[in-house]
Symmetry: C3
Subunit: 305 residues, 3 copies
């Protein structure tokens, strides 16, 4: 990966895609944003938070998250992420995505607490809709989606990984993954729960969600939260190996099958989307919850100092 | 546990709580039934079938079933049990319950066959409603519920354990747990099945219910019917250790999460409760089923002699 | 088994049962089709594709599939199969069925592609209804059904095995089982998926269906797609041993329990049966899918030559 980046340095910074309309984005794409390297059949683009490298030979794009320090899922990050996935979805040459982190030790630390602390209900609602959108895009993608989990992946980071078709995690017991919301005094919504149930079953989900369990890599493999472990430096190449098996399957049959499996879960959110936003906003803006978040953030700060 | 009981002997026998109105019970509580020991912050009460020891320091109550010879779930036992759980549920200081047996070798032998054999339809209906009530109270409890399964736990005893949040079983292959109803020629109702499916999944439930499987402790652990094994004399202390992890989670977040997981299963019984009673009564009062029960009871008697 | 067949040679060929009306069949049964051997209490019948041997002592019928070269599920085969199962279902003496193959190395190769390639929509519809019927009869059977999977069992063959109550597979890593439809560019319908989910859970099904996974025998055991492995020559005797445990359970309790587990899945097909046929016909008659089938068949021919 490091080599790849050296060979094909990103072309230009995209600015805040979050604030681009779809038309803007389409134009930018025809322009300098996604220059192609015909010789190598590789295209790369970099935005504020993501690098997208498309290999036209394989039809696989590597999406690398780079939002220091810990790839927190802020409103801007999520908007950019959803636009990038949609872009790839519409790209006929793109059949698969490998999602990974460009930061050390962390895949994604999950939802950005700053988007929920001391913010207006309107802002919280906009943020939550962006979280939903990220999941809808990823869980419902027609593309093959492989998570190369090369670091810790709590809460929203775990959701992101679970929304992919296949998960490979760095074989390092220091890295952990899980929906640990209850530890912060908050609650994973029903579609987080549904996604986890579809991954590890009812009972393991009941335990994991109530206790806010963060599973280290070997445990995550044991309970099926990830599908495979790979040496830390080989997570991305293991993802490339894994995706080749998926690429061997005719797309239309795979896509119909994937939709058959996931559509009921997706439909459940779609038919309760506004209600889910309202629930989130009224919960997160409660004084007691705001205090929990404050305590949590102060603890985080103390750890750093 | 033995030490605990010596230090804080039960104060007075409560008589048949089943026949106490809630008002009676509230009064009795203010009276001598639940004396507190301020120094140690421990309260204890004993009724006909149960000992309840509350530790105000931890917020954990130990509920010990003591209905010789095998903690059969009779109508009176179930009524008393439900009242005790409700009492603890309403006690703001109580955050968790450890449910265990005070009898050797058995957690609970399950539903008392004498309540179904040769009884009027009205009695059977009252009995079945009490079975439902026990499950509703336990499966839907806001408290942390840990089953310290220190002996065999067939049929209704297994249901009781499965309704808790976490199960620790004595590591003795002579002890077994499972829904063995078909062996008696009877059928576990849909909410027994739902509870088992939520614990060990569809396929394992299909096998277990059809064959009336009783799993010994190691097998029960292997298929996930219990979560942990402990040496026979350390089941209760293992339960105390386990519950401390649950107590570390903010109650409101854990409770909402638990409800999100279990509410659909609970609602299914609530919306079919009378129908389920009717089904049970018309099934159990059939001549053929009454004969099955008779044969079974005679076999039990022969074993004893 | 070989001995059994020598001792009790099949009596007469039944011709194409598929074209017999039920009345014809009833008459044929009273005639020479199902002669009994009172001394041994064994009855045997052979039709074009199946041998049915009933042991009145145990109440177990062994149904042996013999449609060379690979027990493809053609329209005629399926029709005959469903009639045979229905016959046994109506036979009060028959409590259980062991389903196995009389051909080497294969249990069943699955749906006969010739019934879907270059055929009229009407024919495809008739064929698909027969596939549904086979599954409905087997998955919903009141009898104990044990699959003695003594060879490979892809696609429809896997469905057949999964529709039984218990699966024993020959312990030979060369034999594989799974729903590999996507490899052919086609899609397993929702009730194939439901049956697999009821067997191995959501996540394993999602992976298996999308990748068209064929699991070798040890892997099939590991993920729960089969329940037991037996040495290749002992699969049938292992099935006899296994079924004795099921026979020990009172039929009525086992049947009600089985129905409680499987009815929702069966009802789902029953209430969408015509729609499912329409889906299949419009999908399979597409030019692109017909071409996929052609390519697949040519590959099969090349392998043979």
């Amino acid at each position: 990966m490091a080599t790849l980046l050296k060979l094909f340095p990103t072309c230009t910074r995209a600015g805040r895609l979050a604030h681009l309309s779809r038309k803007d984005w389409a134009q930018s794409r025809r322009g300098t944003l996604l220059p192609c390297f015909p010789a190598s059949q590789r295209c790369a683009s970099t935005t504020s938070y993501l690098t997208v490298e498309m290999d036209d030979n394989t039809g696989v794009a590597v999406v690398t998250m780079k939002s220091p320090p810990v790839n927190s899922l802020s409103l801007d990050f999520l908007t950019e992420f959803s636009i990038s996935i949609e872009k790839l979805e519409m790209d006929r040459k793109c059949r698969g995505v490998i999602l990974t982190s460009g930061l050390p030790k962390v895949f994604s630390a999950g939802l950005d607490i700053m988007e929920m602390y001391g913010k207006s209900p309107e802002h919280c609602a906009e943020f939550w809709r962006a979280v939903q959108e990220m999941w809808l895009k990823l869980y419902g993608s027609n593309m093959i989606t492989i998570a190369a989990v090369n670091g810790s992946s709590p809460a929203g980071g775990c959701l992101m990984a679970m929304a992919c078709d296949y998960r490979i995690m760095a074989d390092n017991p220091k890295y952990s993954i899980g929906l640990n919301e209850t530890l912060l005094g908050i609650v994973a919504p029903f579609w987080f729960k549904d996604t986890m149930m579809n991954t590890i079953g009812f009972r393991a989900t009941e335990l994991a969600l109530q206790l806010g369990l963060l599973h280290n890599a070997p445990n995550a493999l044991r309970i099926g939260l990830v599908d495979e472990l790979a040496p830390e430096k080989e997570v991305l190449s293991a993802a490339s190996t894994a995706i080749s098996k998926w690429l061997a399957i005719p797309d239309h049959a795979r896509q119909i099958t994937k939709s058959m499996m996931r559509k009921p879960t997706i439909d459940r959110l779609l038919s309760h989307r506004d209600q889910d936003i309202n629930n989130f906003v009224s919960f997160i803006t409660k004084d007691s919850i705001q205090k929990s978040l404050q305590v949590y953030m102060e603890r985080l700060k103390q750890r750093k100092t």
